[in-house]
Symmetry: C2
Subunit: 239 residues, 2 copies
């Protein structure tokens, strides 16, 4: 039985640009790095409180649920670890128990034709079992369970691959609405060997219907290999 | 780790009316009874196959993912029990282990101000923890785990409350798009004491964003008591 809980304790809006019309796709790496640094700093500030998980997300475009036009992201502090993150943690732990390896490290290593972008410290990939067409994940190459454990100096590289990935999606899919969020280990856990923080980007290309809402299973007509290939086709420059 | 599986073995479309423009809200109870009888008959026909679960659903309106305008529902045969139904079964079993009662029987009994419609053999309620505003469930009063175990003679009453519920939603929310689906016990299970089939109706009033897709938690500004009251306000006739 699910739980009801009152309105969120912590809900912050990060205004990403002083320019009302600027979108994440058009931002310089320096500006994106500032956004990532703000996310990281706010998470660090919530350590040691009753908050068990900080969910950072972004809705871009009306179809993705954005209610404000000005480019922004949101940060919510939750008193528990949310359902979907619990499931990821449990699945990753089962994998680790069998293979003694982090499943996300294996995703990075085994991306093959699902690789979208390879940078020095990060990769963008089409995940092996995407819920949505063109779903894209960005992960650090080096194993790390917590987003906020990234060194401030590493955020420049992350900003670069994030901007590039958004521009590839924009170009391949004609500026779609999208949701973006960070999945990371719970705030009150120490470093975990089996979990690996990552960013998920979900372009909103189709409506979700009664099959998905009733089963939790997603119909996706596009294989991750096809999606990665289509995104790579848009690549004008390399990192 | 989720599984990939190939395209569905069984996918049937039930054309609900010979009239292209007729929607479920406008159908006579007799026609709706025929639709329900078709659902039931198709489920019974799939017994004894490798199909473990039959998911029956309906997408009404473009926002709900409908790709055809002509009123229709869909039936999919799955080789496994889908994730969300597994979760409901497991949650209901935990409740049963604690209380020795079916949680859905308790929902029927305890609806109180969440009751939307009371009929002789069925009720429509706002569930205690709705994911979406105005989410409405229809359940049989008598405990039954399997939709297809409903006697053909009971479908007339079900058709009546289903039609009335859809018309109340139509009137209160100005003909919204909606998803509707049946949750029922797996095809290959005998009668279960802890599970109770039901229909869920989800009006599509808002976009789902990066909070929901990243956490599995749904923000719902409307309490079920408020939703039931608003729906009841539309009630011109009683059953």
């Amino acid at each position: 039985v699910p739980n009801l809980f009152p309105a969120l304790d912590v809900h912050e809006v990060i205004i990403e640009s002083p320019d009302h019309g600027e979108t994440m796709a058009g931002m310089t790496s320096g500006r994106l790095e500032q956004v990532l640094a703000a996310w990281r700093q706010r998470v660090l500030d919530l350590r040691g409180t009753h908050i068990r998980y900080v969910h950072i997300f972004k809705n871009h475009g009306v179809e993705a649920g954005a209610s404000l036009e000005h480019s922004h992201s949101q940060l919510t502090g939750l008193p528990m670890v949310p359902h979907d993150v619990e499931e990821e943690l449990a699945g990753a732990l089962r994998y680790f128990a069998q293979k003694a390896r982090c499943i996300y490290c294996d995703h990075v290593r085994d991306a093959g034709t699902r690789a979208v972008l390879n940078a020095e410290h990060h990769v963008a990939i089409a995940p092996p079992v995407p819920r949505f067409p063109f779903e894209t994940w960005i992960l650090p190459r080096r194993h790390a369970s917590h987003f906020e454990s990234e060194e401030p100096g590493a955020l420049a590289g992350l900003a670069c691959i994030l901007g590039q990935t958004i521009r590839m999606i924009d170009q391949a899919l004609r500026k779609p609405a999208y949701n973006l969020f960070v999945h990371t280990a719970p705030l009150d856990e120490g470093p975990l060997g089996h979990y690996h923080w990552h960013i998920e980007i979900l372009p909103k290309l189709a409506k979700v219907g009664g099959f998905e809402w009733g089963t939790g299973i997603h119909i996706n007509e596009k294989t991750p290999e096809q999606a990665a290939k289509a995104l790579q086709g848009t690549l004008g420059e390399s990192l």
